[in-house]
């Protein structure tokens, strides 16, 4: 893409499954992965005479989202029927929202790497978010000349979050999606599982020469990972520019991304010919959200990532980087705060252990903070021993590894392995004197001004105490002895 002349215009539609126990309009369960059609009641199956009743939790979650992105929550919103025939859509229409959605205009701030170690801030507008029911799934595998229908997913509550066409690059799109993903997970309204389809993205992409009006857009459907979103958008931008530059035209159409080839492919043409015949669903009265109802939800909003990060920087004196890392999920932030509180250790020290050692280790063993083999209490127990100087920071690494391996809590490991730090000066002096006696050459060099050899003596003395000498005491005594 010759970035001097071409510009992409990107808008994202995100379908986010709400974490309700039951479906949006019935009592059927929403759990993922059940045997096909075991979570389909009469409403889900679209039986004659059955009626939808709105799940109050779904509404509450949608309002929660609206408040979190600073959007206006509609006092009155309306469900509408969107009609099309497909076997995984039991009623022949999807209950969605059209003219009066629950959430109006909001915004999301994103941060982008400027390529020089700095950060660029950008605000992406959110056009609207509306509630709707998910469709079922068509199963084409395992059937040679037929299609299986699994309606377990049908009726799962969704919010569809539509962005303004404010996004200009694939990287911005990914930053926006990650931010949105973090937010909905933080709010506890979505499990964020992209593999299972809990958080799905359709990307609307068009290109134009800078300064010109919007070009014709294509919609790429259901791209189910951040990496695929980036690849799909990049491919689409590139394809559209090539198409136009070679004299072609972009057709408004729906395209599917193929992760194996990294390409998008036309799914159906004549998108404009779809007429969904929206009209207000007469089975559902308009939903009225009173100011009291909205205020109640506002009062129960959790601390949002931005606010938490600012607080971590301020209250714990953390760097922006550490604060961002530690607030990347609500669980991690809670873990960190629990460690600080229980250990009484310096916040910065706790941050290093959680953000670097723990996250590094978890990453290596493929676990996340929820399934960490070291609980916040256990890590705090170890940090306490650093604070009270039972062990040094260096020994702590060994204790940490043992904890990770499931050998018990810090005190048990310290005792079992005899890792208690030596603070007894006479023992340390003895070790130092032995080292000096064994290395007369180095001593002479040091005394003649080769200061760097101090490190050599520290290393040797540490080794002589199996690393258990209190480093501060060792340094002080060693300096004295070397000075002669």
């Amino acid at each position: 893409m010759s970035s001097t002349t071409w510009e992409a215009v990107i808008g994202l539609e995100v379908h986010c499954q709400l974490m309700t126990k039951s479906k949006i309009f019935s009592g059927a369960a929403t759990a993922y992965g059940a045997e096909p059609n075991t979570q389909a009641d009469g409403v889900t199956l679209g039986f004659p005479g059955v009626l939808p009743v709105l799940n109050g939790d779904a509404l509450r979650m949608a309002v929660t989202f609206g408040l979190a992105v600073g959007a206006e929550v509609a006092e009155r919103c309306v469900f509408a029927r969107k009609h099309y025939f497909y076997p995984d859509l039991p009623k022949g229409y999807q209950i969605s929202q059209f003219e009066l959605p629950i959430v109006g205009k909001g915004k999301l701030d994103i941060e982008l790497d400027d390529g020089h170690g700095g950060v660029i801030h950008k605000t992406i507008g959110i056009t609207r978010a509306h509630m709707e029911e998910d469709a079922g799934k068509s199963l084409h595998e395992n059937y040679s000349d037929a299609t299986g229908i699994d309606l377990n997913r049908a009726g799962t509550p969704l919010i569809e979050i539509v962005s303004e066409p404010d996004i200009r690059t694939a990287q911005e799109a990914v930053a926006y999606l990650k931010k949105l993903h973090q937010l909905v997970v933080y709010l506890g309204i979505c499990d964020g599982n992209m593999q299972e389809g809990s958080f799905r993205c359709d990307a609307n992409v068009s290109v134009r020469r800078k300064g010109e009006p919007f070009g014709t857009r294509t919609e790429t459907k259901n791209v189910n990972s951040f990496r695929y979103v980036e690849k799909a958008i990049e491919f689409e931008i590139d394809r559209q520019i090539r198409e136009i530059e070679s004299g072609g035209e972009i057709i408004q159409e729906t395209r599917l991304f193929n992760p194996d080839t990294g390409e998008t492919k036309s799914m159906r043409v004549k998108e404009n010919s779809n007429d969904y015949r929206y009209f207000p669903d007469p089975d559902l009265l308009p939903i009225v959200c009173t100011p009291e109802y909205i205020a109640d939800i506002r009062g129960k909003l959790p601390e949002l990532p931005e606010a938490k990060r600012a607080r971590f920087e301020k209250d714990y004196g953390l760097s922006a980087y550490d604060a961002r890392t530690l607030t990347s999920s609500r669980e991690l932030a809670a873990y960190y705060e629990a460690v600080v509180k229980a250990s009484g250790a310096e916040a910065k020290l706790c941050a290093n252990w959680v953000a670097t050692d723990l996250l590094g280790a978890l990453n290596k063993i493929g676990k996340d903070i929820d399934t960490s083999p070291i609980s916040s209490d256990a890590l705090a127990g170890m940090l306490k021993r650093i604070v009270d100087k039972t062990i040094s920071g260096k020994i702590a690494k060994e204790v940490f590894e043992a904890m990770l391996a499931g050998e018990g809590d810090a005190d048990t490991i310290i005792k079992a392995k005899g890792l208690v730090q030596i603070t007894d000066e006479s023992a340390i002096v003895k070790a130092i004197e032995d080292v000096i006696a064994k290395n007369p050459g180095q001593l002479a060099e040091y005394r003649s001004g080769k200061d760097k050899l101090f490190g050599f003596f520290v290393g040797q003395a540490m080794k002589a105490t199996q690393g258990k000498a209190n480093p501060d005491v060792l340094n002080r005594l060693l300096k004295e002895k070397l000075a002669g």
Partner: protein
Amino acid sequence: MSLHELSLRELGEGLRAKKFSSRELTQHYLGRIGRHDPALNSYITVTADRALAQADAADARLAAGQGSALTGIPLAQKDIFCTSGVRTSCGSKMLDKFIAPYDATIVRKLDGAGMVMLGKANMDEFAMGSSNETSFYGPVKNPWDVERVPGGSSGGSVAAVAAGLAPVATATDTGGSIRQPAALTNLTGIKPTYGRVSRYGMIAFASSLDQAGVVARSAEDAAVVLQAMSGFDPLDSTSVERPVDDYVGALGASIRGLRIGLPKEYFAEGLDPGARACIEAAVKVFEGLGASVREVSLPNAPLSVPTYYVVAPAEASSNLARFDGVRYGHRAEGVHTLEELYKRSRGEGFGAEVQRRIMIGTYVLSHGYYDAYYLKAQKVRRLIYDDFRRAFGEVDLILGPTAQSVAIKLGDKSDDPVAMYLNDIYTIAANLAGIPAMSLPAGFHQDLPIGLQLMGNFFDEGRMLNAAHQYQQATDFHKRWPKGFA
């Protein structure tokens, strides 16, 4: 007096006094159905075994001194209400083999009250029709003249009750489907306020207009059954959370001082002089009972028919989209593609009138036509509602004809949908506004029944039923039987 001539109150008293058992009563009706229904075709399905089992259970309850005023009394359920384990066809080939795995809320309530279901009453296909000629199971005949239609869409319900093949029946009314057939068969039929009776398990035609009700042989009978059917249902978001008035208890109060309005638009051109004479005579009866009568205006009432025939088909086209041959209902055989499955299943499963309305509805909701038709109709609907609000500021009840004339002959208008649609001219406005309305016998013209319509304010069923009851204390039209069915 024969069992089928007794009122519901008399039946209840007889059951409790052990003059007859519910089994005997049920067998009496099953016998009459066997003898008379071949001429009328009022039942699609007769559930004799189920009925006798229910009757025995009712007898056991009664023997134990339990049960309600309705325990042991038989009824016919319109075949639009889902009945667990019994076919619910909605008068359509589409659902000829459909057995719902659940009961409609009103079925559950009336079963719970101890009523005995004799069977499922015939009806126009998906309740679309005013003559009961669109049923997949064939037309229903009017007991007052078997060459005439009983009206529709609740034609089976009214024919069964009018001929003494059920003491009472449930029915539904989207644009007059309770009141118009009640008028044509000399019955009392009430459509309550929209939201008063649950729609759960009632197969939807036009959701914002559909309302269940009762057809009976008197206002008193209707009041007892409506009482048992009414009430808030958490399974229906449009049902209203409000206590049910004591309809039966309200009967008996004097109607002295009751203000009755006669909408001038209901007495304009098109009303048969014979019908007009009956209505005018009825007005005199009400005046004699102490009611004051004045003219009111419902200026937008003449727009009811065109408004209805946009709104109702629009909702129907959507509600009937679920009948696609995939999960239940008629499924075409030998299809090769998905599109073919849809087209042929729906083409074979739905009759001509249903297909016509699906097409009209699809058209008015289409891009580019929505504003001109659907949205415009909704605006007119609001004006019609406002007319009633204004009128009920001046009067307590509105009185007028139910239908333009007596029942037509079978086949007379079945090729002319517009003429057929005009049948609903007096009844549709109440559905569009959501107010309660009823029809009651007001005399005969050429030996055929004429119905009188009362319309009440929202949730004013009690007052309306009592006015009808007082009228029936002063008249005996409702006590007459069609020849050959006594």
